[in-house]
Symmetry: C2
Subunit: 476 residues, 2 copies
């Protein structure tokens, strides 16, 4: 039995009786209901015999109302659809007062819709984004599972703060300003719920490494947190991160994995989210028309996705990148806010965008960064000054992946930890991995929302997660 | 190219050259290495030509050492395996000092292994459990995606504390005991990171409902938290929960969904985790031998899983269950710690276990509970005293699923919220769902770790999650 709009729209068996429940998107001429049930971005047209329908019922067919229709599936005479339902019976399940309902059939600003995040998924744009997000999540799991990876749920509450990926949120059951003190006047964390100071995780990498060194290939896919006061279109305080980690894999393998992974999951949504992506493609094209010509993209959304799937990512060492940037027009013309003068400079977003969008015009993997601008756990190269780090840079998004080959040598790692002033005792378990059966291993982190942004063409990261958490905002 | 132990063990192409990396599980007679790389619970036997191998190298082949072997795949003469590798070259990648390595090839207590959670996944038992956990996770996503559900990531940090499912952890960036105060001496939460008091979520249900009322069928699968001081084998402070939510579905549909879902995911692991489940089956049988006869299970692990897949869950109303319990032997003989005297009593674990393990001897779904022992959002029945709630009870586990049809009537819900003393303003967005296009809808929550416990036969919930969080414990 065909039970939802997606299935019925694909049907070519006419004159069958169908029953459908869904929500009214529009109702025009007292006759045509555009009905949506969330199974697809498309609505099905339901034709009412208004002369034989109670006036009272007709009035209650308003945008947002939940209804049940029974009727006959017929070939549509109208434009834009192949089938429609000739309604024999309609029941109003839940009214929607047209004067009060915030989501009217007109264009709403994204800002207004963020304030109504509980309802915005009832719009075409957000329902499409959220369906693509769901399919993309599944593609992530499917890719790793089919390639022999084990999913590992690393802890969200962590007593370890050694990773240093960013500012952390504290987790506590102490009453505010009533934390008990030790005899010498410090906070007595032994009395807190976990018996120690705890935070929300910034990354599952270190714990994932423990699993990689036993199961071989693992990945995480879970929420991570940054307590940074970043009010940008690219940052969230709570976001979902994907972190594969593989034993016996070096940096070259890591680059191969990241490229293959991204191409695979984007292929999956190109194949499984056709209708939603076509809608989002048109939405973006429409949006770009309001921009100055110079800021518009050369490619449509679908073209960009296909381009990434079909083309090799350009692999460039940090040292080569610095040469390119130093000799670039914007650098010579002092157009960069942060001019590139010498090797060792940390690359800013403007430099990454120049490399990806102007110079190479394709996704770029930068590798072998200076050791002193990267994390302690990255493997030191033989040159003694660079580490086996890599960043994947995407047009319009910037850094989408950050990864590295991990330092597998116990002594080198201990030296690095000491040099960076990290408490070695905090990392006893991480160091154990280098004491017992250590081996080359690598992994990366991919911010899932940035991938969803790229796949959907949405400009603001707050619009690709159901309920965004940002400074001063934890509504719903 | 066959690149891991799982693939090579399945091979029947002899005399091919193979290269394998992995960890030594055992080394006996200076000749036979049992090598494991995490891809399967099985080891591959690697036969060393010890007369032509350096004495120094032989000494370094210790339990836990990482090695690379090259050699020829041959039919095995030994028992217990069909193929083995005649090693032509061995390289030690990472040593493992036998005097220091905690994971020796002998039986360790689970308590000792919890203290070494970074290494315990190198044992047979924990590697099997974690592989089954991973496959079970995938089965969850696969089931929902193939049945038209959208995955929704509900927020982890929440400003809403209305659900009342349990004690919460606070999330803050205030320094301990240095939270700023308002003029009238209260904590000034507007100055905290999110501009309000925030906690870790206890359930994604209310937010998932907002998505179900737009996309139709959704599910969550993410971490949830309880700040309860429960030191039991069934409770964690941080655990993963699965919460489907479906528009236009009533309680009967909800029961059907929960039963079909559980059977489907258990079938999946029965099919895809044969080796691991056979090992865990034997482990459990072994463990039960040390128990008194009366406490042993009638069925082995594999039999239990097959039984659940093959048999209908028994559906029993709360009222029927009370009758059965009131007239039961243990109640009459006063063997229950909490005797059942009258309708309205909350069921304890002992009662649930009696119903499941002694009376019905199969999974049981209890439904239509008294309103006053259940949450505010459950739909009131026409009798005015029961609600459309359901719990799925499993042998050995107790409650594995809790769900309900949700109250879709605005007025009834508002009355309930007021009667329970919940701040109505906190739930404005939840009430909006009943104001605009409300409809019958239902869903349930399933504690993922309890499902993993059931699938693996592990007695303690701390042993089915990588790094358990419990009172006084957030190590790693």
């Amino acid at each position: 039995m065909k039970s939802n709009v997606a299935e019925i729209l694909k049907s070519d068996t006419f004159l069958q009786e169908v029953t459908l429940k869904g929500w009214v998107r529009t109702f025009r001429s007292n006759r045509f209901i555009a009905l949506n049930d969330g199974s697809t971005i498309k609505n099905i047209q339901c034709v009412i015999d208004f002369e034989n329908t109670e006036e009272e019922t007709l009035k209650r067919i308003t945008t947002g109302a939940a209804i049940e229709v029974k009727g006959t599936l017929t070939e549509s005479q109208g434009r834009g659809q192949s089938v429609e339902i000739q309604v024999s019976n309609i029941e109003i399940l839940g009214d929607s007062n047209a004067d009060e309902y915030p989501i009217q059939p007109k264009k709403h600003s994204f800002e207004f819709l963020r304030e109504n995040a509980h309802l915005r998924v009832r719009t075409n744009t957000f329902s499409a984004v959220m369906r693509v997000r769901s399919k993309l999540s599944f593609a992530v799991h499917k890719y790793f599972q089919e390639n022999g990876f084990n999913y590992v749920n690393t802890p969200i509450v962590t007593g370890s703060d050694a990773e240093g990926a960013g500012e952390m949120f504290r987790v506590t059951t102490f009453e505010d300003n009533k934390a008990p003190l030790t005899e010498d006047g410090n906070i007595d964390y032994t009395k807190d719920f976990f018996g120690k100071e705890t935070n929300l995780t910034v990354s599952g990498q270190l714990e994932a490494e423990t699993f990689a060194m036993a199961l071989g290939k693992v990945y995480t896919f879970g929420p991570t947190f940054r307590a940074e006061n970043s009010n940008t279109t690219r940052h969230l305080a709570e976001f979902w991160m994907i972190e594969p980690e593989v034993a016996f894999m070096d940096l070259d393998g890591n680059m191969d994995l990241s490229e293959d992974f991204i191409k695979s999951v984007l292929s999956y949504v190109l194949e499984h989210c056709k209708d939603d992506l076509e809608f989002l493609d048109q939405r973006l094209t429409q949006e770009e028309k309001s921009k100055p010509q110079a800021e518009r993209s050369d490619m449509s959304l679908l073209e960009k996705l296909q381009f990434v799937v079909d083309n090799n990512f350009k692999r460039v060492s940090y040292t080569e990148a610095i040469d390119i940037l130093r000799n670039s027009k914007p650098n010579k013309k002092k157009k960069f806010q942060f001019p590139i003068n010498e090797w060792g400079a940390d690359l800013q977003s403007e430099h990454e965008r120049f490399l990806v969008e102007k110079h190479f015009k394709c996704p770029v993997i930068l590798f072998d960064y200076p050791a002193n601008i990267k994390a302690f756990y990255m493997r030191l190269n033989e040159d003694g000054k660079t580490v086996r780090a890599m960043d994947v840079l995407f047009p319009g998004i910037g850094e989408i992946v950050g990864g590295s080959q991990r330092e597998e040598r116990y002594d080198v790692l201990v030296d690095k930890i000491k040099a960076m002033g990290i408490d070695e005792k905090e990392l006893w378990w991480y160091l154990d991995l280098r004491k017992f059966g250590t081996a080359v291993h690598s992994g990366f982190g991919l911010g899932f929302e940035r991938l969803v942004q790229f796949a959907t063409g949405m400009g603001n990261i707050r619009d690709v997660i159901p309920f965004p958490r940002t400074p001063q905002n934890a509504e719903f």
